[in-house]
């Protein structure tokens, strides 16, 4: 945790004993390590590197049945040019960015507030109980979360049931495309906010109690202590996570949207990933779908690198640092 809150100077590469060895000597010494790495290397090669290179089909009029990846005609950036004329792709882009922005405002602060609330609970047992409960939904699948929300807020759900018993109209929030962004944000809060609080709780626990004590002795009341000690103590983590979220702006989740697409329609629920799936695998234009996927991957890469730069500029470690 300390590494996140305090800017640790990057570890200086100390004189490594292995440096002066030849690669042969190193291999003779380290072959068990290489052997251990092999299974992982194979998986990464097969399901990361080769598919990453397979993205060449984005530049082809790819036909898997007759021409294959080597024989399909190369058409350059045509697929990408077509993407930007495709209203559905533009909609996916707008939706993705709108959802990210919306969740930045309405989801992001929730784990922080939850952590502050939990931290203020005096009884350790009560706090452990509440923590145990709110972390739980993180381990449920999206299918399950959608099923549960459907049972609560769907047309035949509990809320409608209770409303009808009292002679009111039922509601169906699960198929309303206008309120979909609210629905999916509440689902995200229900599933992930508790888990998201962990990191803030850990940051809170590193704030020295003597700071609070000193402030209290100086007459600072509860809210002033929160404003002048707690929030500044949380600031580095908040900034770091905010930057990381921005770097991840194109990722808003995938299964959540796939699962509810048929219920709310594609207009409200189309995001980058669902567009790739539907345009590529459903309509069969694999090269076109791959182009959309590659576009998202590369823009995402740039965003992450930029976010990491910013994080380093703030004195944080960011997603990665050379180690």
């Amino acid at each position: 945790m300390i590494s996140a809150t305090a800017a640790t100077p990057r570890r200086r590469r100390a004189a490594r004993p292995g440096k002066e060895l030849t690669w042969r000597a190193k291999l003779r010494r380290d072959w068990p390590l290489v052997l251990m790495n092999l299974p992982m290397l194979l998986v990464v090669l097969a399901f990361w590197w080769i598919p990453a290179l397979g993205n060449v089909i984005a530049f082809q009029d790819y036909n898997p049945y007759t021409d294959g990846i080597l024989g399909s005609p190369v058409i350059g950036f045509t697929n990408f040019a077509l993407l930007f004329e495709d209203p559905q792709f533009l909609r996916a882009m707008v939706n993705t960015l709108a959802i990210t922005a919306f969740q930045l405002v309405f989801y992001f602060p929730v784990p922080i507030m939850l952590a502050l609330l939990l931290n203020s609970v005096v009884s350790a047992r009560l706090r452990a109980f509440v923590q145990g409960v709110v972390y739980m939904p993180y381990f449920f699948s999206w299918v399950l979360v959608v099923a549960i929300f459907q049972q609560m807020f769907g047309g035949a759900g509990l809320l409608s049931q209770l409303l009808r018993e009292r002679g009111h109209e039922g509601v169906d929030w699960m198929t309303n495309s206008d309120t979909f962004i609210l629905l999916l944000t509440s689902q995200t809060i229900w599933k992930d906010a508790g888990w998201g609080a962990i990191i803030f709780l850990a940051a809170l626990s590193t704030i020295s109690p003597s700071l609070y004590e000193a402030a209290a002795v100086d007459g600072a009341k509860r809210w002033r202590r929160m404003w002048h000690i707690t929030l500044p103590g949380l600031r580095p983590v908040i900034i770091l996570l905010l930057i990381l979220r921005l770097g991840d702006a194109l990722n808003v989740g995938f299964e959540q949207f796939m699962l509810q697409r048929s219920a709310v329609g594609s207009e409200a629920s189309e995001v980058f990933d669902t567009f790739v799936y539907w345009s590529g695998l459903r309509t069969g234009d694999l090269g076109y779908g791959a182009a959309a996927g590659l576009f998202k991957g590369l823009v995402g890469l740039l965003l992450i690198l930029a976010a990491n730069r910013v994080a380093h500029a703030f004195g944080e470690r960011g997603v990665y640092s050379k180690s």
Binding site: M36, P64, V130, S141, W142, Q151, A290
Partner: protein
């Protein structure tokens, strides 16, 4: 609420000497808020479990989810497990989860350990190849083509291999392994232990907590995985539970007739809502069972990862 009503007037034990006792209003407000939060999570689960345990008559009379218990009936579960569709899906999910977790954990522990020694053979390129997974995703379509190119469609391997390595988990494990003092391993090496023995006898026993958490992450991932199954498994007999859940619970498609046929068209046949909720319960239960055992390790395991990841 009763839990929160601490002894009036006296300071709660956990309060520091300098801290002012909470005001009654603040205490009530906080208590209400906490109660609401806990209820928001537990209430849906309560009514779902209750409905799955209710008789057909009760569910029909209520006309939906059951809020007040009226006796416990296992009809829905008996019906589910006497039918092959759901029980086979449970079997498939269990198989994939157990097998996948074992494979993932094995591959990741070995991989993380092999990357825990800077300066070893090809350390930087090998590390780089894993770290790249953080910042770039090759895309759904090329991965799909790879999986079908390997002939893994409709094979359980398609549910395991593409997600077998999570860069996040490898980095978490690696960070933990690197924190183990090198002197311990050096002394073992002097005593003639090889790398595999060091990993098995020294490093793993010292990293039980983080290994447990990473194992839980993998297991939950496999149990919950829906998209890969939808993509790669066309044969309905090989469907894992997540697909069943989607098909019959979320989309309310009729279950194959075998399910309805079990207890015939008798009046006591539980309505589909009870069956639906029973399927939901079956999907939740494994997570709930493992959860308490791993929960105490969360903070330790997660924080390292959250920072490094």
């Amino acid at each position: 609420m009763t839990l929160l009503a601490t002894r009036r007037g006296r300071k709660p034990a956990g309060l520091a000497a300098w801290e002012e006792a909470p005001s009654p209003a603040g205490r009530v407000g906080k208590g209400t808020l906490l109660t609401l939060i806990v209820l928001a999570v537990l209430f849906p689960l309560y009514t779902i479990v209750l409905t799955s345990l209710s008789s057909a008559a009760t569910v029909n009379r209520v006309g939906g989810l059951v809020l007040v218990p009226e006796g416990i009936h296992f009809d829905a579960y008996i019906q589910i497990f006497s039918d092959s569709v759901v029980s086979r899906a449970v079997l498939v999910s269990t198989l994939v989860t157990v097998g996948g977790t074992a494979i993932s954990l094995g591959v990741s522990v070995l991989g993380a350990y092999s990357l825990s020694r800077p300066g070893s053979f090809a350390h930087r390129p090998l590390l780089f190849s894993v770290l790249l997974m953080f910042v770039f995703f090759p895309g759904i379509i090329p991965v799909y083509l790879m999986v079908s190119g390997l002939g893994l469609k409709d094979s359980y391997w398609s549910l395991i291999l593409p997600t077998a390595v999570s860069a996040f988990n490898v980095v978490v494990l690696r960070a933990f392994f690197m924190n183990i003092p090198g002197e311990i391993m050096d002394s073992a090496r002097i005593d003639g232990a090889g790398e595999f023995r060091i990993l098995w006898r020294i490093v793993l026993p010292m990293s039980k907590a983080v290994t447990a958490v990473v194992g839980l992450f993998y297991a939950v991932g496999y149990w919950n995985a829906w998209f890969n199954a939808m993509l790669y498994i066309d044969d309905t007999r090989k469907w894992p539970l997540a697909l069943i859940l989607r098909q019959y619970v979320v989309d309310s498609n009729p279950l194959p007739t075998a399910t309805l046929g079990v207890s015939g068209m008798g009046h006591d046949a539980p309505p589909t809502l009870a069956i639906k909720m029973a399927i939901v319960v079956i999907a939740v239960v494994p997570a709930l069972v493992i959860y308490p055992f791993v929960q105490r390790h969360f903070t330790k395991g997660v924080i390292v990862g959250a920072i490094k990841g």
